[in-house]
Symmetry: D2
Subunit: 133 residues, 4 copies
């Protein structure tokens, strides 16, 4: 099973009055990393809309371990930690890229649905990329 | 012609490392105030999608005059300052509500379009609310 | 122990391409509700900086149960569900205000620290408001 | 005088219910590009705080010319278009990177101030990078 890596820099407007990245922004980072992982595997939101399915987030658990600061480079690692017929869980780790200091760790539980929100089996074409074999 | 007033509080995550509201957030405030003005006049995004038109922003000019801080109450005044067949300009003023200190002033130029982006005449039902008579 | 209630409307820019409130924005709502609760009890960020302590979020668990849409009124309820000498957990529930439909539920674990990040006992003056007696 | 180029991808949460990048997010992009330009020239927010000055935005004019969509690569070009003793104007252009389609153009007027907001002469060490000779 693959680990997807995504890198970018902390932006000034993502930081709060202590100069730290705001807690909610970590969820932006996680979403961005998941989208990049999907895109690298040929799945854009357009593809998904066209095929009439979407990935709905059901639950997020996140542990904040170390603050991130403006201008620092961030590394997000994303991998599937469990999967079932219609749903699964990503583990996502947010590192300060310079020294791979772990800054946050999250478990993100999702379900594949049709456009009406009904769970559907994970499409075959993305099973190889996203599902534990 | 009517002036629409909208009130809310500065949120912590909208402030940057100086404790000021971030410059881009002022555009969020302006959009929120315009949406509330539309909603109060019976125009939701759903209505607009249903009727197949949308309001596209073409240009924004904003002068930042005084910073806003966390927890302060904000008052936004929105009114039409000019209008033509398919387009118009809102003037929007952002005040610190407590003493009506003017913190920013903006001119927002918009055009009515169909879903393909072609300009269309401003719908009659919103002319009374949005257009200078 | 008190339950703090906070009300506001979903803003257009908080919604994603499905018209739903974005997952990360729920954390903005939770932070805003906590800040309002603090403010109503006389604790602003300034007070806290002055007194040299801050509240650091260690962990968030959030279950997304039902989507929120543009323009809907939101009600957030915040209460302390457990507390210890230097730390505690808030339970926060996000409702669609109209019919009190539960849209998300979160547990937010925090610790009181000094400005260097060292945990310190919860100040007496906020124990009555925040701590389970 | 130098042109600073910055590249990145549109993130999913930056898009609104039409799938376009939200108008306010363009100001985030402009700020990010300015910060990268400053950083590449050795000026971080920390340096600036240490040296007791800051760059305050006084006015932004932005023309929205073409929408940006999720996943597209963005190119921002930043250059000084005028400068005086304590203030200046950046011109910033936002392109879809693939074909250098111009999507937005902005003029950003700023002033150098001390931490109390009083205008001060532009520091010598950044004149070469930021000022028209």
């Amino acid at each position: 099973m693959k680990i997807f890596s995504t890198r970018f820099h902390v932006r000034s407007y993502e930081c709060d009055s202590y100069g730290h990245v705001n807690n909610a922004v970590y969820l932006n980072y996680l979403e961005y990393a998941r989208m990049r992982a999907l895109q690298e595997n040929g799945f854009t939101l357009d593809t998904m809309k066209e095929k009439q399915y979407l990935i709905v987030i059901r639950r997020i658990e996140i542990d904040y371990k170390h603050p991130l600061f403006m201008g620092e480079e961030v590394l997000v690692k994303t991998f599937t930690s469990s999967s079932r017929k219609t749903s699964g869980t990503f583990t996502q780790q947010i590192f300060r890229a310079g020294d791979e200091k772990l800054c946050a760790e999250a478990k993100v539980t999702w379900v594949f649905t049709n456009l009406k929100g009904k769970p559907v089996p994970i499409p075959e074409e993305i099973q190889t990329a996203f599902v534990i074999g």
